[in-house]
Amino acid sequence: MAKSPFRASLRRDWRERDVRVVLTALIIAVATVATITLFADQLQRTLTLSASSFLAADRQLISENGQPVPAEWLAEAELRGLATAKMVRFPTMMFGDGNFQLVSVKAVSAGYPLRGQIEIQTTPDSAREMRARGPEPGTVWVGPRLLQLLKVSVGDPVEVGELELRVSGLLIREPDGGFSLSGLAPRVMMHADDVAATGVVQQGSRVAHVALFAGDEGVLTRFGRWLQPKLLPSQDWVSIHDGETLSASLEKAERFLLLGGSIAVLLAAVAVAVASRQYALSQRDSVALLKTLGLTGKAAGRLYVWRLLSWGVAGALAGILVALPLYAALAGLLASVLESEFALQVEPRALLPALVTALIAMFAFAWPPIRRLQTVPAMRVLRSEPGESRLAVIPDIAIAVGAMVVLLWLYARDVTLVVALLAGLALLLATLAVLGWLMVLALKGVIGGGSSWRLALVALYRHRRASLSQISVFALTVMLACTLLLIRTSLLSDWQAQLPEDAPNHFLINISPQAVAEVKDFWGERGHGINAVYPMVRGRLTELNGQPVRQVVSKDERVEALNRELNLTWTDRMPADNQLLAGRWFEPGETRGVSVEAELAQRLGISLGDQLGFTIGSETITEPVTSIRSVQWDNMRPNFYMIFPPQGALDTMPATWMTSFYLPETAKQELNGFSRAFPTVSVLEVDHIIARIQSIVAQVTQAIEAILWLILAAALVVMAAVVSATLQDRQREGALLRTLGARQTLLVRSTMAEFALLGFFAGLLGVAGSEAAVWGLQYRVFEAPFRMHWGVILPIPLVSALILALFGRWQLKPVLRVSPMLLLRRLE
């Protein structure tokens, strides 16, 4: 094809309203998807960074076999541009002033921590300070409790193995302090360079060597892939997502972003689809005319493919140009919320989904009518041919649905998410079909009178094909927006319920049986009541149905619970947030049996009635499994894998007691008095972890709100695009009705009523579809129980009716402005 006619056709295209609608839809679609993808990327980076401080790095390589991490690996990481640091963790005895105490040492190299900061005090009474690096060689920071246990003060010498170190500070918080009840020994931090001189760390001693890595996420991932095959079973490559405390929340947030992105993709597809299809259909007359002038069908097809492609590329580029400042604004918002620096980062990869969405949607929806353009008879010029047959639409719908599935899959790559959204979609279409049929039946007899409602009903019925297709687009839009809204609401309330303001933030461990009452009184008198106190017996799970448990469990299943002692407890009441999944809870007076945590049961293949053997000290007990429970690990309360009945097998075992309670920031100094009164009780302060999680959740909440608003805006734009696609027909019809004597008020009212009805039904359908989608998503993706959202079933259709009525009013404006004289002037 010669170049100039093509260019001329583009120029002519530009003057056409339909082309401008396609372009607008395309720009908005690309802009929305690109903004969300870019922002999601940014959010992920920010969150990972913020969460990474829990590891003091982005990744840890933990080697539990007593061997240091090979130097070549660290060299390789540095070669790739990653920052590295090392630490060694080991338990040892510390001596000071004639006393000694078992401590848990962390020796850190110069770079530590790569992420986050260490909080220390230089004297017990001084203010807390943040440090970006560990203690200097020759010095040591110790947990405050150690000063009392060893009877030393800051500045005094202490001994670790053969080395004498000077206490230069009190270790309050390590970024990677983590939270584990087994870390009961007082903590000590020293410099890694001093380790050799202590002579404590020898081949085979209980020591963990840890290498820390930080840097670009992509480089880390590639490095991880390089490293993975070289790892021994005793070496573990850990990312923040493997941590227990935050990972669940973060994963849900990431999934929410993915869902938001997917919904943006679908909305965008709908907008582009409606517009491009409209464009293709509107070209029928031009093609017929061109054919009378000698254009062949093939050439016409080619011409339109090129035109569509040109507009597609132009629209996509413009959309990206719109997305960039939007993204920058959102990222700025995020940074100001987090009070953190932000670096804008536009990865070409993040722009890809937007472009692919735009082009696939455009061609999938415009292509069928364009292909049929090739066969448009030239006769059409002389005489308008009947419209397309109903059957011709079926392959179109198939292509369209196929395109949606492909798009969704390309974007999300998450089976459940795709299936849930498609299930909602399917339900929506099925209901729509039924509704369409009902509408035809119900409205058949209605005849318009002077009343605007009846006129509206008549209009709905008479334009039933257009009405149904509009309802489906509106319903789809409502469904998508509503799905996101519902998921967000339940996600947020989930998080809030999980870590309320007064979530327990201090653990008291190692309480002797005699001291339980006194400890309760101590805090009770100070207004910080303690509820549940649990006995704790340390023991290992060793046998399953008479066989050593390590043989029963396959080798590649690394079950951490088997490697260490478990905290066993007994109680007559199941912890409030546990849920009984199988079996039954202990009856009063029942003394046999054990209740097992569900995930562990699954991994070890434990079922009801199995006999579990535990080794406690030198004794062994065997109990049948009587129930299986789920446990909320991330709620910062005492949680137990194994619970026994009171007066059961554990009754005679040596137990200490533990509890958790909420201590407000303002009452922190009470801890000093407590430690003096109960020097043997360990206090585990997790308030900073909780505060961090709460702040991260707050950040994520903000981000989720922003995404939700963005999607809602996109949904409105889609609706507007659909409404305006019919503008020309409505202008003509409005002009005719006015010539026939319709008063403006009647026209306005009946149009608003018509759109309100459309909106109401679409809203109803959309809510139904979103309930289906949310049901699927809650169960499988967000792992939360599903409840019907009765509260939205009426408001959403009403809101959607109102919005569409306003759209209708807005669309009518030009109809009212245009003079009925237009008809005499043969506007076609």
Partner: protein
């Protein structure tokens, strides 16, 4: 509704009165005069043809008389009401009750069936039994078998019949037609002319039509010429 005192007595037999009607449009740099000082009267029940060269202002004049637009100067009275001084909504109401239209390009709504197209004005006027009335009329124009067909399935002549049925549906006292046969062949045009004249006679309506069709013009009782926006009647000194 304003009624001119002086015309009170004659009101019964004068359907349309134009007094010094001029219409100008502003083209930015200068103004274009489309109608200039048009005067005239049309009696109740009369049939009038307006003829003139293309671009002379026929359509504009017809639109003014039907109250689709208002002139920049002068007054127009339709059935005793000064429509040139009425609001858009008042004129709409008047149209709904007393005015029918036939357009050169038919102007049927493509998504509606023939029946529904004819029912449209009846519903707007709040007619009691629009379905029967529309069916009757379509039978009368010879389309009793095509009630459910959409405009796309009808030929041009058939579409114009539907349009005529629609125009007479609400029993207008005055019917305006802008080149009703302009898009049709000679034979079909003649049939449509017959239908238009017959129905008009049956209903006793006033008919004002613009046409290039000499035969059709000849069948009207009066003939008005318009040229460059100036109206004249043959045999009547301006």
């Amino acid at each position: 509704m304003t009624v001119d005192k002086q015309t009170d007595g004659e009101h019964s037999h004068i359907m349309l009165r134009l007094h010094n009607v001029s219409h100008r449009v502003d083209l930015g740099h200068d103004t274009l005069t489309i109608l200039q000082g048009v005067n005239g009267e049309i009696n109740r029940g009369e049939s009038v043809a307006i003829v003139g060269p293309s671009g002379s202002g026929k359509t504009t004049l017809l639109g003014m008389m039907a109250g689709l637009d208002t002139p920049t100067e002068g007054t127009i009275e339709l059935d005793g009401a000064v429509i040139s001084a009425m609001s858009e909504d008042q004129r709409a109401q008047l149209r709904a009750q007393r005015v029918g239209f036939v357009f050169q390009s038919f102007q049927l709504l493509p998504s509606l069936s023939a029946l529904e197209n004819v029912m449209l004005p009846l519903e707007l006027a709040g007619h009691k039994a629009p379905l029967q009335r529309a069916t009757e009329l379509l039978n009368r124009v010879g389309l009793g078998e095509r009630l459910r067909h959409t405009p796309r399935q009808l030929s041009g002549g058939e579409q114009q019949r539907v349009a005529i049925a629609r125009a007479f549906a609400s029993e207008p006292t005055v019917l305006f037609a802008d080149e009703p046969t302009g898009n049709l062949d000679k034979h079909t045009g003649a049939a449509i002319s017959d239908l238009l004249m017959d129905l008009n006679r049956e209903q006793g309506a006033t008919l004002v039509m613009v046409t290039h069709d000499e035969q059709l013009a000849a069948r009207c009782q009066r003939r008005l010429n318009i040229d460059a926006g100036v109206l004249s009647e043959p045999g009547v000194p301006a």
